[in-house]
Structures are given as C-alpha cells and as structure tokens.
Amino acid sequence: MAVDLRALAHKTWRTIASIQTGVVLLILVVILSAAGTIVLQRPVTEPDEMLNAYSPQVLRILDAVGLTDVFHAWWFLGLMLLVSLCITAASIDRFPNSWRYFSRPYKYPDGSFRRALHPQKSLAIADEESGLVAAERALHSLGFNPERVVREDHFGIFAERHRISELAVYIVHASLLLIFFGTIVDGFWGWRGTLNLNEGQTSNLVELRDGSARTLPFAIRCDSAGQENYKDGTPKKWWSKLAVVEDGRDVKKKEIVVNDPLLYSGVRFYQSSYGPNGKVDKLALVATPSNGSGEKQEIGLALNDAVPLDADTTVRFAEFFPDYAIRDGQVYRKSNELENPAAHLVVTSKSAGKDFDVWFPAMDEVADNSKAPYQFQATDLKMGHFTGLQVSHEPGQWGVWSGVVLIGVGLAFVFYVVHMRFWAVPVCDPKTGKYSLWIGGTANRNRDAFEQRFNNLVALVEEELKTAPRTSSSEQVVTVAGD
C-alpha cells in the first residue's frame, strides 16, 4: 500500500510538473478571463445596466457560477494558485538538471561528443603544445578566458561565456511567482476606497468598494483644491493641498496632482476627481434700505451666517439650492450641479416683529422681496468644491514591482544572453602519427549567428598557427579536472 501511495504521489507530481498541464491551465485562464471581458462584470457595472443586459434567469445563472465577477471568483483564484503550483513544480522538476549543467560544466569533450558536435573543425598542427597555445591566444583575443583542462591521459582547452543563461528561465519563473505572491497579498490584506473632502474638511473615514467604511489611524485635511483648464475648457490639471493630521498635529503636507499621489504609512491618496460640492462658500450682496434713507452696504455671507444691517434688522443666509425647482409653493433641490441656483435669505425686523423671505431669484410663490426693509442685489457667488481622492493600501505591490524588474532581467537573459562554449583538443592520428587540433563549439540559442562566430575563431586559430608557434608560457590557468 505504501508503495502504491508513493507511486500515486509520483504520478501526481509528474502530472503537475508536465508542460501539458501547464498549457491546459493557460488555456483555461485565457478562456475564463476572456469570458470576464465579455460578460458584464458586477464591480464595474451599474445594477440597472446588468438588469437591462440580461434576463433575470440568465443573470441568476451567471451570478451563481460567478461569471459576473470572474476575477474575484474563488475558482479563478484557485486556478491562479494551480498555475503557480504548476510553475513551481515544473521549475523544481527541471532545476536539478540545469543546476548540474550549470555547476559542473562539461569541460572535456569525449570521443562520441566530438563526433556528434556541430560546428567543428580540425586543423593540422606541428605538436600538441603549439596547437593549444594558438587556440588559447585566439580565444583570448576574442575576449574569452580559456582554461586548460588536464586529465591523466589527455588534455584540452575549454572556454565559455554567459553560463548564467542556462538558469535564466528560472529567474523568469521565480519573478512570475513573486508577482502572483504580491497580488495575492494585496487581495487579502489590501483595500481600496474613496474619500471626498470639501475644502477645509478633515476626515479619516474611507468608503470602501463594498460600501463599508474604514477608519484610518490618522486623518486627512484638504486645505485647498482646484482645477486648471486648457483654453478650450477641457481640464488640464486637478490639484489638492493635503495635510496628514495625526494626534492633532500636521505630520505631512503635500500638493497632489493626478499621477502624483500622497503616501503616508503605506496608504496612498490619489487625486481622482474635482468638482463643485453644491455648497455655497460665500454669497456677496449689496443691501439698500427700502425707504431710501441710509447707506448702501456690501456684505458677504456664508450659509447660516447672520449679519445685522442696522439696530433693528438682521439678515440670515438660510438656504441655498445649486439647481432648484419650484412646485406647490415649495422649492426643491434638483441636483448638485450649479445649473440654476437659488438663495434664500431671512430678514428679521424687530420693530415689524416679523420675518421676510428674500429669494434670489424672486419667485412670486414664496418671496416677499419687495416688502422687506432692505432691497438686496447679489453681486457674486463663490461655490465650495470637493476633491475626490482614491485611497489604496497595497502591501503586496513591492513583490509585484520587484517581480517586474526581475522578469525584465530574466527575459533579457533568456533571449539575448547566449551561453556559448568552445573546446580545443589536440588529436593524434594513430595511423599517420600526425597531430591535428580539433575545435568545436556550441551555443544554447541563436545558432546561425554562433556559427559565424565559430568560423571567426577557426580563422583566428589558423592565423596564430601560421605566425609564431611559440611554446607555452607559464601564465596560463591550469585546472586539473577531478571528474
């Protein structure tokens, strides 16, 4: 039974590590994520739109299988975990072989290897030493660092470059896992929300995507916010001056713009929108006494401000509607856009013992502008603005970015760094007793360009052989290969 279990485990391992499993998983990921772009997704679609697009039965089925929120469904997460498992298993399965290849380079080509290798070339030489020296010099001039391999019964030259390229694919796989790890960390411990602040307002409550609120251990205050426009009226820039308030003190200040967030203790604040909040900041008025006696007065009122005009009369800014509608003697707020504003002032006269409702504009149903002791003229209206901030906490993003950098490096190695090896072995023909120098080489990719390089090397060796067949100097590296 134990043997069976081991066989089963082995078989499972082989299945997970196999390239077929990997490809099947990739195809599944492709199909499911494509489905996620075609079926409307709940997180980014208004509920009405979902109801319009699908019939209730279809919607119920889609919801039940999670197709309306593919990228947050448990099975999608499971699939991604399986992909990670498959990448890990495949890497572990293949790594020992590559590692052996990497850590114990094949330095002396034996007979069968020499016969099979392409490209290779044999050059006639006078004796073993002169051939080896020529090969060494040629390799040196090409920027290699040749190594003499000496064994009991034979010796040769070995040179190589960029052995690390054999391991590059593991760098790529590891960085993919790092990216997955980062996104999973963010999926569990990260959060995203919005925070809308009026100018001057301080808040530490972030509204999360699912509608719940999150209290930050510090508060954010918006000192001012604004928008700059291009000449044609399209927005050019939104900015907000933010301050971080912790324990009642300002600990950090920054003016943020789109693409340049504020970061404080792992939480990022992004400028995402800007607009009128429908609240009035200041209403400027000119008040003239109705009976013609007395001076004109210029006053500025914020909402609910009350200002005495003379000993008898006070004016209070009671209500403001950025976009009003009137029905049955009642004024309603239609929207928060500054489309059709209305302001309501209450003028109290002690001597008359009554309140007068003054309206801008003067609506007959509700206003008694003409009866009031003062006539008012609105000269300016300053609206309040809010700044819309996106707030996010992504503790895993450093995994993602380091993975991205690593994958760039890994891919550069995979595709553009070639592991190339050259061998040179003096061979004695047993029949004639003459020596020849066998030169061979191999590269793990881009073989046609390598062949060019190989021919170049052979030409150089030939050149060296012709010029000065000097004896070996003592500076060469000598290794005794133990295996």
């Binding site: 492709v30 494509a34 927005p235 693409n259």
Partner: protein
Amino acid sequence: MTLIVLVGLAIAFLLFMAFLNVVKSGNLLSETNLLFATLVFYAGAGALYLGFGVTGTESYVKFASLATWLGLIANTAAIAHRWYEAGHPPFASVYEMLLSFVWTLAVLTLVAEKKYGVKVIGTVTMPVAIVGVVLMQLLRTDVHPLVPALQSTWLHVHVTLAMLAYAACALSFALAAMFLIQDNMKTETFLAVTSASTLAIYASIVLTRFEKWGGLSLVAWNPEAKAEVFLSRGVRLFVTIPDLGWLMTLTLLVVASPLVFYGLARWKNVVNLKDSFLTLANRAVFLSILLQVMALVMFVVRARDGRYPSLDADGLFPTTLAASPFILSGLVGGIFISLLYLLLLWRRPDLERLLPSADNLDRITYKTICLAFPLLTLMIAAGAYWANQTWGSYWSWDPKETWAAITWLVYAGYLHMRITRGWRGRRAAYFAILGFAVVMFTFFGVTYLLPGLHAYA
C-alpha cells in the same frame, strides 16, 4: 524598367502637386507637407516592392528601400513636428498612434530586409504603411490637450512599447504567412482564410451597425469640439446614414460567396466538380474586391460630411470619417487582404522563388517573437505602473488589460511549445498567426466592442 519610369513619373507628379500646395500654404515644413512627402515616398516604395514581388527584378528593391528611407525621414520629421507642436510624444489619439505605428513598421521593414534578407517583406508592410498614412490624412486632428490622467511619462513609455511590440507581432505574422506559402500550403486554403477574414470584417460591421430600413449607424461628430457626441457619460450618439446598410449587406453576401464555393469544392460528393467550384470561388474573390471598393468609396463619400438623422434624438447631426476609424480601417483592410490573395493566386511561383526558404522563415519568425515577447512584457509592466500612479491600482482587470495579458499568455505558450516541445514549422506558424489575431483583437476589438477604462485609445 517601365515600372521605375512610371513610379518616377508618379513621384514627380505628386511632388509637383505638393510643391503647388507649399506655394499656396507658404510653409515648407508643415506637418501636412511632411505627411504628404511620407505618403509619396512610401507609395513609391510600396509600388516598387510590389513590382519586385510580381516581376522579381532585383534592382527594384534598391530603389524601393531608398524610397522607404526617404519616407522614413519625412515620417520622422512629421513625428518630431507633432511632438514639438503638442509638447508631448505623439501617442494621444488614433491619428498620433498611427503616425508612430507606421514609423515602426517602416523601420522594421528595413531591418528585416537588410539584416535578414527578407526582401519581399515590403510587399506586405509598405501597403499597410500606405493605408496608415492615407487614414492619417483622413483622420488628421488638431493637437488635443491631454486630460490629466494622460499626463505621465509612463504612459508614453507604455504606448511606445505597445507600438513596438505590436509592430513586431505584425511582422511575425507576415513572416509566418510567408512560411506557410513556402511550406506548400494549398492556395485554396489561403482562399478560405482570406475570405473568412473579410467576411468577419463585414459581418461585424453589419451585425453591429445595420439599422432599420437599410441604414448604417455611425457615431455623430461635433466639428467644433472635434470630438464624438455623447448623450450621457459613455453613451455615444449615433446617426443613421440611409441605404448604406444595404450596400454593406450586399457586400457581405458577395464576400461570403467565395467561402461558399470553397465549401462546395471541399464537399466530398462533388469531387469531379472541385476545380470548377474553385475557379468560381476565385472569380467571386475578384468580384468581391470590386464590391468592397464600391462599399469603401460610398462609405467615404457619404460619411465624410453631411448631416443625418438619429434614432435617439431629433434633428440632423453631422458625422465624419474621423468618428469611425475602425470601420474605415476594416473596409480598407478587407480590400488589402483580398488583394494579397490575388497576388498569391496569380504569382505564386514567383513568390516562392523570391522568398527565403521555409527553414529560414521559421527561424526569423521565432526571432521576431523573441523580440516581441519582452516588449509585450515591458509594455504591460509600464501600463501597470502608470495605472498604479493614476488610479491607485496596478491591475484592475479592465478588458484591455485582460486582453493584453491574454496576448502575453498566447506568446508565452508559443515560446514554451517551441523551446521545450520543439514545435517547428506549421504548428509554430499557426501559433504565431493566432498570436497576431489576439493582438488585433486587443488593439481594435477591445476598443470597439468591449467597454473599459482605455476609452482614450
């Protein structure tokens, strides 16, 4: 030699016209003139490459690459001019992206020709470049200021990498198609594939845009704001051009006919009629080109300007070609695909003689993908970094992002199959073609068919 003389005359004529234009406008180095020069040289290069493709006269190639060089210089100048005028790299609108795409395509053509000796590649890429420049003339937009979210260096890095990667994918597709020619794939298979592609173009136009009583609905255009008209956030106003829908439907039927004949030829009960059905299919392709040209001309004439009624609002609204860039590229692309098939049908032996061997093409395709894949990776990474700076999230599964990831996965699959399973030849070529199909869907299909954050591009 006749061809060179003809091309020379054509260039001289166009230069003369351009000169008249310059005298009129009084500014030699305006963007319009630079674009015009680009068009002239690319057109000359395209004609010469095509002449080489058809006749196999080696000397044409020299002149063709000279013309490509000159066109490239003008193209570079146009980009520089645009960059200087706009103050940001030219990637903000469809027009600006076409400008950069055409530039990349010309560079890659020269690289493929000089470095890898694929001389005939210009026969495919230069007509694409010409179509791009012609589209630019039609879609010419004024410098648009950038909305806040687009003002980021990372965005430019992202789009540059995307253009480079997509151009490399386009090249690998062309090389894979050439491989299939050299690998003795039957001409009738190409017939089926090219007809299916044009059919897909017309089917998607008719299915999404055909309106009641034979109209074709197009996005309304506000000429003052130089922008599409929106009814509300994300909802565009469509106008209906009467009768154009019928023409598109008719073209759809004619475009479908070669495929029907091909199907009949493949049907096992008609073995003895196979050849006559194939002949019919080829005739149908020829007919379909005529009809497609007519559809394009009618489309350009009707949609270029004029005011049309809308089903959603009262009154007449203007539209323009710039409002429907994808339909326009679809129509032009369909004609181009059919013409390429005709080239193959009539000149196959010459093509086979001129193209590099199947083995070489296979290897160059792989090399191009080895170039495209890291670019795709970096493109996605730069896009994620930009999204993180702008929206506070590096990955939000919006359709464009998802499809970019799917493209990446497809090419990753190609590389794995090739490196670990030793896939060569046909299977690898099919995979490369599939990869490019996904790229095209990501580039056009997602913007056109699926909603998302990438509304700018």
